[in-house]
Amino acid sequence: MTKGIVTGIISNLVHVEVDGPVSQNEICYIDLHGVKLMAEVIKIAGNTAYTQVFESTRGLQPGCTVEFTERMLEVKLGPGMLSKNYDGLQDDLNKMDGLFLTRGEYTDPLDEHSVWHFTPLAKAGDAVQAGDWLGSVPENWINHKIMVPFKMEGQYSIKSIAAEGDFQITDTIAVLANAEGAEFPLNMIQYWPVKLPIRAYASKPRPFKMMETGVRTIDTLNPIAEGGTGFTPGPFGTGKTVLQHSISQNAEADLIIVAACGERANEVVELFVEFPELDDPRTGRKLMERTIIICNTSNMPVAAREASVYTAMSIAEYYRSMGLRVLLLADSTSRWAQALREMSNRMEELPGPDAFPMDLPAIISNFYSRAGYVFLNNGTPGSITFIGAVSPAGGNLKEPVTESTKKAARCFYSLSQERADSKRYPAVDPIDSYSKYLEYDEVKEYLDGNIAPGWVHDVLTAKDLLLRGKEAKDQINILGDDGVPLDYHSRFWKSELVDRIILVQDGFDPVDKSTPIKRQAYMLQLVLKICREELVFANYEELQPYYTRLINGLRQMNYQEFQNAKFKEYEAQLMAIVAERRAK
């Protein structure tokens, strides 16, 4: 093993003089009076390795010894990860005793002596390759597959496999042999370097299905595809985190991975406290049972912040390989980009825009490309849908992180200060936001076939109404209420109907906070039906009180259980209001 000696320290960038070969991204441990500080090689020049330390470097001296591991930063994968709270390096936070995070304390991500009920899915003699399923163990309510390690290249045959029974994760459950006859005993644990994508699948088609989130402004107006990517930029106070939490609670996914990257500790604590209590609307079990939280809060070491998003993605890829639908949320990727900026600055690299590293767009798009819908080698589909939050400096969407992300992500949910100020939550701007998936023929076909015939057309109609309403509003503001034709007021109020009934959603109301797609379709069609009515008004002053009544009626419907007696009663009242003004 290569060894080294510390020669320079600038904050968490440590220069190490090495006595042998080192690789880029290799992990090493710096010995500080017996405490081992984990670090990653990020640049090599001659026999000096530049390392970023995942801990505070206080007290570190030149001359401290360093041991290299010949491994990159890896996650440890196996049954037992669900419901865990990890730090950015996949240490189990609950296994740490102290009140404070202790430097150099690394804990096991899995529970070493835990026992799992193994059922084989393959038999001796089967030909297998990386990612193939050998067996399964029940983990909470997921059938956790034990797979041929992703690191194993080429073809193998199963020499022997354990019969159904209880095993510890360290017990051998299968022995593989390669063409030369060399044998490889396997247990339930495998390792994977986080910065590399797991590619153990047969094909990666364009996403074609929609993933329901229960958030109307997303599902109805700008749907995200299962296996798709999206991002939510917004200034502080516009509800990024609230929106992410709401998606995590209601999305149609088997598994949720939340990467709290450089954000407030109290927000993470809220997840710790709430998720074990909240019911998963789809299974009736607790949300925490299908959730993994990776948290590197803003005060934790900055290099581990970068690692945290990769750790989260690798765990997501692992579960995707079991044929599961994984939803990965990262809040916020701007903090990750800032971590990159801090290091780039310390390495005295020539800066790109706003002092971010030049390769920021490449790093971001590489990361987003790891999401996706795949068909595994056995034909089973699996997916990772990724939604990242972005915190643009000064709320300015022209800054480098937002712009780079815009190139990579297919859905753009722009959170607007103006909407937040007028309490129209979720504050996703309906005009600026978009979903590229609405342009995919396969997605369109899926939506029309699964939601309602002509659905995509209806959605585009709603978007047009919103845009025309905004234009009309601008004209009214310039020319005055009586300076524009009456039709402009109608356009504005129709857009208000769509906005206040379809887009605005009460996250604190037990019914309204999550809307199934069938109900979304019903409400959109109802609103569009009203908008298509020819209503007659004598002057512009009649519109506001009239539309206020319509909006109130529709909102009452939103608060009721779908199609219950009250719902129908409100609907009948509503249609009566519509009839009052209908052209004879």
Binding site: G59, N85, F236, A265, N266, C295, E342, D354, A393
Partner: protein, 440 residues
């Protein structure tokens, strides 16, 4: 902080800038303290045997032959109950003429609390200021800044908050305080007779700016002692964080770092987060709450300092001078406490959230009416009533010199509702209407 026997003394500096110096030395640890010609300095960069130190009080008059002594330890503070009622400088040395503190020596700027060992904040902090208690309730373990323009009386408001809260300890971290403001705090605390629960770490404008960098961590190290060892609720007041950030940018500039937005160092977010995230609620009952002042220029919150702060803190408070009553109020429209829903109606009376949102709504109707009036439009009867309500509301409730408890604020608001509005206009849930809407 004198040297001890057998210490190695270096007397040859290789490089001196306005804030840093470089020396050839071995066996030096990162972030270690030293003195250069008696001035305190800290190691900020080590390259081989070349060690760069930032000298807190500046390098004016330092010669290449200055005596340099390393301490072998990072900055520390002695903590014990003796801290109560005392005034210290940025190094933790007494400036009130009193004796040195005896106690356990702790490193400042220590590690972070394990997130799973935190408790979800749920205890209310009452300040007697309605703009806070009624509309933007604070919670122990919260961190929140005032975004204030320099002409606003933020130091007076902070002092008022400090004196009125029921916190066990109040720790003031003054960064770049003018000497006048320092004396104001000192006199206010002394004359209020609560001096024993107040501890101050102060860097004034008379002191060198780089010294400020130690102040928040000194204050928070003391806060952690009382919150963890004594399970006390500690309120930390930091003023002015903008001047702290300015000091950060001075040091990073001297170290040839590439500045990011608004000439601030690229690490500004992490630097601020390390301070603010010390705010915590412990399961054993102790807590650290941080109220800070970030001065802004002309209300511009897109500047890097308020912008990064806003992403870290749990809300922000704005001051506003209400010209109708000639007093300073906490602006009900722009201020926000993100944690208020954790206590409103739970630790306070059940009608609190509804009363709060009704009064904010009626107030914003008043703002609209005022705009209407200024633009020369006729006011409706409702507009007239909202204006009268807003005036009374500002005078009897929002003005920061009003000091009443939350129940009384609620009662007064109910009385004002009834004075000016109908039940429908107030639109509060029936169950509360029946309890609090007095029949005429």
């Amino acid at each position: 902080m004198a040297g001890t026997a057998f210490q190695k003394i270096y007397t040859k500096l290789n490089q001196i800038t306005k804030a840093t110096c470089t020396v050839t030395a071995t066996g030096v640890g990162y972030e270690e303290l030293a003195t250069v010609s008696g001035r305190l300095a800290q190691v900020v960069k080590i390259m081989g045997n070349s060690v760069t130190l930032q000298i807190f009080s500046g390098t004016e008059g330092i010669g290449t032959d200055a005596e340099l002594v390393f301490f072998g330890k990072p900055p520390t503070l002695k903590v014990s109950d003796q801290l109560g009622g005392r005034f210290f400088n940025a190094y933790g040395d007494p400036i009130d003429g009193g004796p040195e503190i005896e106690g356990q020596e702790v490193e400042i700027g220590g590690p972070s609390v394990n997130p799973v060992r935190r408790k979800d904040p749920s205890e209310l902090i009452a300040t007697g200021i309605a703009g806070i208690d009624l509309n933007n309730t604070l919670v122990t373990g919260q961190k929140i800044p005032f975004f204030a323009d320099p002409d606003q009386p933020y130091n007076q408001v902070m002092a008022t908050v400090a004196l009125r809260t029921k916190a066990d300890k109040i720790i003031l971290g003054g960064m770049g305080l003018s000497n006048d403001d320092y004396l104001y705090y000192k006199n206010t605390f002394e004359s209020a007779g609560v001096i024993d629960k107040i501890i101050s770490f102060v860097n004034t404008t008379d002191d060198p700016p780089v010294e400020r960098l130690l102040v928040p961590n000194m204050a928070l190290a003391a806060a952690e002692y009382f919150a963890i060892e004594k399970n006390e609720s500690v309120l930390v007041l930091l003023t002015d964080v903008t001047l702290y950030c300015d000091a950060l940018s001075i040091v990073s500039n001297r170290m040839d770092q590439i500045p990011s937005k608004d000439s601030m160092p690229g690490s500004l977010y992490s630097d601020l987060a390390k301070i603010y995230e010390k705010a915590v609620q412990f399961p054993e009952g102790g807590s650290i709450t941080i109220i800070a002042v970030t001065t802004i220029s002309g209300g511009d919150i897109t500047h890097a300092i308020p912008d990064n702060t806003g992403y870290i803190t749990e809300g922000q408070l704005y001051l506003r001078r209400d010209t109708d009553i000639g007093k300073v109020i906490i602006d009900p429209a722009r201020s926000l406490s993100r944690l208020k829903t954790k206590v409103m109606g739970k630790r306070t009376r059940a009608d609190h959230p509804q009363v709060m949102s009704a009064s904010v709504r009626l107030n914003s109707d008043a703002v609209n009416a005022k705009t209407k009036m200024e633009n020369g439009f006729d006011l409706s009867d409702y507009d007239e009533r909202t204006l009268k309500f807003a005036r009374d509301y500002a005078e009897q409730i929002l003005a920061i010199d009003v000091n009443v408890d939350t129940d009384q604020m609620l009662d007064t608001t109910w009385a004002l509702f009834q004075k000016y509005f109908t039940r429908e206009e107030v639109a509060i849930k029936d169950e509360f209407m029946q309890l609090y809407w007095k029949k005429a």
